[in-house]
Amino acid sequence: MELLSGGEILIRALKDVGIKTVWGYPGGAALHIYDALYRQEDVHHILVRHEQAAVHAADGYSRSTGEVGTALVTSGPGATNAITGIATAYMDSIPMVVISGQVPLTKIGQDAFQETDMVGVSRPIVKHSFLVTRTEDIAATIAKAYYIASTGRPGPVVVDIPKDVTDPSHKVPYSYPEQVKMRSYQPTDKGHRGQIKRAVKTLIEAKRPVIYAGGGVVLDNASEQLTALAQKLNFPVTNTLMGLGGYPGTDRQYLGMLGMHGTFEANTAMHHADVIFAIGARFDDRVTNDLDKFCPHATIIHVDVDPTSVSKNIEAHIPIVGTCKAVLDEMNSLSEQMAIEPDEEALAEWWAQLDQWRADKGIYTASRYEESSGNCIKPQDVIKMLYKVTEGDAIITSDVGQHQMFAAQYYLFDKPRTWINSGGLGTMGFGLPAAMGCQLAFPDKAVACVTGEGSIQMNIQELSTCSQHNLPVKIINLNNSALGMVRQWQDMNYSSRYSQSLYEDSLPDFVKLAESYGHVGMKITHIDELEEKMRECFAMKDRVVFMDIVVDRSEHVYPMQMPGGSMRDLWLNKTERT
């Protein structure tokens, strides 16, 4: 058997897992690993400018491909810088392995230089973590880490490796386990057949059904199965922020996003539904609004791979624990075998009602905001233009704030894994590094990061990474010189006292900034130049282009649920409410 050092074993094991790209940043405790990385060509490393970005990039790579993302950082500050990225992945159930260097075993606990208890610090935000104490255990631990990260409800796994465990002078035989078996971890796959049968019967008999589909459908690659079931039953579908693209956004049966900034038709339909089929969604507080007023007439069917999500916030009448894909497959085949017919008449009535809601107050049937004119560019119009110019076929990442909601509302995602955003944790600074991950995975696709002048500055240093590794992402900066969403809340709840949400004249010249990194910068201040400039931007396929677009600062995101209300209690604009 071949003798390898710990560093070599780690890299070899990554290769055997099938990992081609690692995002990272070297440092003292990880140097043995970086040396092993240098002496091979199978695993490609991308040097970022901040460890948080390494994790977000691995995250973006994972969200766009479905593969497990990998990040490599050093101990201490390297590890703690990775924490925000790990928490982001954890909240959105993204499969990821983060390998961190650690001080030597002999120094652990002595407050050594760059020592942080990484397993301890990361504990509440990981699916699992390992501290590797023997060189012989590295390969098996890596195999376990990837297995845990990618199965069941996916999530990030941390592997902390002390420096002496990767000592180049200590060589041991290498063997990679053929399969991983853990007596304490056996995730459920197929749902309970009897429950699934009950669910299908309930669905077919429904008179006012809504399918409420979340990120689980995207993560489990179950969009096809969901679309097939919805279309067979002729049921309306709403997606969560995380689920966008899980059901085609341009389809007739699609009601738009639901929740805090969901559409009037989606939120109102949920409120009046008699059956809600929740799949891969978790009844998050940004969806349900006040739990006591949530969907008073509905029988709830809830499918989730994670038993803790079922009946956590909302009691499910028909709980099903299983993967979205397996359960939907079973439902699709059962729905054909069952000798009951959907109530066509009731459904026709329901659709007439839904279409009425759409026509009355939907954001897709008419413009519900004042349109742009001259130097007053509306952020919504920028997203609509982005959709037009990219023909709805780009991968869109976003940061967090108003721009994120506008992108979610106005870019209609027809395919899964094309909308990449931090939904659960709401991490500003996510967009640019995530876009790098997507661009690396899809070098020939247009990848655009929709951001704001607040968020982009949280990881702007990654413009340098884009130069070094040739990642020609497009940055669509909705610049309103204010923290838009904070400002909106201050307008609505704090009598427009803009406490620390304005940048005054302190913003950089983003055009020059982009140029200083070797990229193309554009500043757009007039609505008439938007289309031409944006076409120019996307025509430069091999360049990073930073589009700094000055948008109307006074714009708010609507609809918006009213605090303490039911799902259908919404502000539709600054003066009109339901």
Partner: protein
Amino acid sequence: MKRIISILLENESGALSRVVGLFAQRGYNIDTLTVAPTDDDTLSRLTLTTKGDDHMAEQIVKQLHKLIDTIKVVDLTVGSHIERELMMVRIKATENDIRAELKSCVDIFRGHIIDVTSQTYTVQLVGDSEKLDAFIEAVGDMGIMEVVRSGVSGISRGDKFLRV
């Protein structure tokens, strides 16, 4: 309502901290916690008591089960079970009539006096938590100096058992 939750856990470093951390993270209280390896030293058995309604207990059990190191979890309070706790109490016992009264009280509770000095008795008592509480109440006036309780250990009755 009091809950007694029994957990079979991989005897790995960090496993216990995940259990304890989960309670802190999710806002649940731990009233008592006992942990030790089983006959199979790769496994730890924990007994944990907490308070909560059915919904909370269900969530706690599910969340505990979700931990990768957890092999089995059961809420013992749902079925028929036995709980035991060990307590050691040091009580001031200087005068003869107090010593006699204390001795008879210990006998009534089927405890043992496991250490004696001219000033004190140290009493060992085993039973469910209510019995131990009752003893403390009974001897409360006599001058308790120190109380050590092990926390509850629990096991289900009958044929059901928690094993790999």
